[in-house]
Symmetry: C2
Subunit: 152 residues, 2 copies
């Protein structure tokens, strides 16, 4: 993957705010919308989830997940050329290996301040195992978690 | 669900062109971007997939899928208020119960004409079993496939 492509992937991850979260619900696919915050080195993608939500129930049952970040449809002739990346990995409750990003989260999602007063919301940490980046038609790149960190 | 909410869901489904497709890959979640075309009565959501693509391999192994259609992020203060619907169901190859929507597909995705000359592309039919519509914060509605058809 050349440096322009790597830069485009980093811009996509940092530029978008929402992603499609794939989880298992009763063993079948479920997809929901989540806001996310990427750690500066792309080693983690933070989510702030209510334990009342379906996807949170799903993750309690099975930690495996996929997170798809998609360039918004700009009405171009061929939407198949939209840039997108799918990260696959596991999601765990709380910071685990480090502090939770409360300040950075509030800077990005100021309206979510209320969730810090609600007992059912927590940070969940998506740790990517690999990434599949579609930079355009026929331009697909597979990255390991280590390769993803290198382009951050 | 009141008539305004039903109309908003129908507009979302008809207005967007791409969705996040959740599939099972080796039993784990996978999410990819697909273009879709809703049947006029919302009984089917057509996809045009290459058998070389990961999601198509996934669907050959397990027909269960989820399709999330999300209002594009418009930069609003709280992205959690974006409208979205998740359909869950099964995907099968080809028309099955009826004709394939070639003309309607080409009208919506003219750049995809080339795929009709390529042997690896086919229509796949997503048949929704249920739908979960999030019209905004705390405004979640569950619909059966029959209820979804009634709002089309």
């Amino acid at each position: 993957m050349d440096s322009d492509t790597a830069a485009a992937l980093a811009r996509l991850i940092r530029g978008e705010r929402v992603a499609a979260l794939g989880t298992l619900r009763g063993g079948a696919p479920n997809v929901s919308l989540v806001a996310y915050l990427a750690a500066p080195d792309f080693s983690a993608f933070w989510l702030r989830l209510s334990r009342l939500a379906w996807h949170t129930q799903d993750l309690r049952d099975d930690a495996r997940a996929a997170l798809a970040i998609v360039q918004p449809d700009d009405g171009r002739a061929d939407p198949q050329t939209l840039m997108r990346v799918t990260l696959r990995g596991d999601v765990s409750l709380g910071g685990g290996e480090g502090p939770e990003p409360k300040a950075a989260w509030l800077a990005r999602f100021p309206e979510s301040a209320v969730t810090f007063a609600l007992a059912d919301f927590s940070f969940w940490r998506f740790a990517p195992r690999d990434a599949r980046f579609v930079a355009g038609l026929g331009r697909t790149h597979n990255l390991s978690a280590a390769q993803l960190r290198r382009i951050a």
